[in-house]
Symmetry: C2
Amino acid sequence: MPTSSASPSEGTEAMNTLGDVGEFGLIKRVTADREQPPTTLLGPGDDSAVVAAPDGRVVACTDVLVEGVHFRLDWSAPDQVGRKAAAANLADIAAMGAVPTALLVGLACPRDTPVETLEGLAAGLWAEAASAGAGVVGGDVASGPAIVLSVTALGSLQGRVPVTRAGAQPGDVVALCGRIGWAAAGLDVLHRGFRSPGAVVNAHRVPEPPYAAGPQAAQAGATSMIDVSDGLLADLAHVAEASGVTIEVSTAALVVPPRLAEVASALGVDPLGWLLTGGEDHALVATFPPGAVPEDWTVIGGAAAGDAVVLVDGAVRDGAAGWDHFAT
Amino acid sequence: MPTSSASPSEGTEAMNTLGDVGEFGLIKRVTADREQPPTTLLGPGDDSAVVAAPDGRVVACTDVLVEGVHFRLDWSAPDQVGRKAAAANLADIAAMGAVPTALLVGLACPRDTPVETLEGLAAGLWAEAASAGAGVVGGDVASGPAIVLSVTALGSLQGRVPVTRAGAQPGDVVALCGRIGWAAAGLDVLHRGFRSPGAVVNAHRVPEPPYAAGPQAAQAGATSMIDVSDGLLADLAHVAEASGVTIEVSTAALVVPPRLAEVASALGVDPLGWLLTGGEDHALVATFPPGAVPEDWTVIGGAAAGDAVVLVDGAVRDGAAGWDHFAT
């Protein structure tokens, strides 16, 4: 409803799609009056942004979310989608042992996308970035057949060596920080037509990566680290392959949260499957020399000399593969 | 055609779409055996890349290209699309007075996209990045309804102050480096069903931004700079607005290249329209104190105190607006 006596062409009803406000109109709306962290030396509005990289290096990653593949706007509010897109990238920065500094956002969407939807997406991106200490410093918007959000995150190692997937040593312990299985449980609930319990469904909508645990692990001497985006076993398989070690996971160490146990029981599924193969919670999993595991991290296994595989309770687990967008 | 006696399931025919090779298979194919510049401290394959930022700052920008909007695969080869996507971003880095260091690529595309198409896109991205001294350091691929390429470029200011749109001073001269009007002419030719002359059509397919001219202008004391992505007048309007000056362009200084004059004559259009309002050539336009204009730059006008508008031969020109994806 128009809230003023302005002429219809200036009222809210006449300016409700991206086609109405235009590319530059949208950019003005989503960048006006935003606060930037001190690392943002030059924010949105020029050909490029300028971001501080105090130790002479910048950490950078890109992740793409597509409507209908990674999110549905009948299942998630726009700001939740924005938070999720930001979180997936911010977690990749944390998984190097770095602190996030900035996001850049590439958006394609149909001309008839409501401005309200895009303002919601932007609000979520800004909020999640701010929660990790980062700013949204740039981006672009173009017309396209569906909403595609390509987010790039930048970060600072603060002088530390990056923690890659390749440094796990035989004898290291494997430890986890953050939730696993929750987003997969939430997605299962939504796929079956339910919208509750809220805590589980919201885990699919908005992940809660433990951003600060990444730099914490690096400071503690983590030898390898990855964020759980494709599933615990699939992501540990990347570590096993890159490091050339066997990774052993003990299910006795994986406590199924009571809430997930209840939902699994109601749906008639094994909740352990969510914990081992569910992605998108963006927990961090790392290897440490014994005795170096920081507080808040839970030991769930170890690394050993041997083939580059992941063993669960001593055996290769069927169906351990995680999410590959194009796997048949 | 299969080129070996391998079983059909391993032959080329059985592995010809993204759905066949999968996300990780594609990433391996497009990143294997690539050379990286010395600024790439950690390349593709981990959660994030690490790129040198020697002066403690990183320049960053993002640009989105959508199939059917910015390119058509029946008009451009995949490697040309890759080059164009890279060039649009690399030019935005140059327009700050910086040298490009790295690209990250977010790609959405249908499962049935031929691997050959994606390898072509990747080859173009790598080639254009290399031509500007940058590496492709990371990215992501997801399924989507059309090809959407969101490229982020990073760059280094090498200790210089960034050249923004906001520094033009009354009394400065306006100078141009690089081609304008060519890409628009090429697009007009293609829209009318022709495929020649090749030099003009190829200008639409692959821009040739003068990357080195950006840092050169900064060193020479440019007070403002922008790359011509939306059209000379539209982009100068951004400079006028950000700097709070009147920008005056003299068409006498804009020489229509003979090739464009011929094509314009054949199509029955005014070639000056291409030069003034055609985007996507990614020339650089900058303001300099009088006497500071570097070699290879052509003076095309000046900045004066007054309203934040662009005048052409002393008058506001109708139809001077450039490309807004969602303008009605």
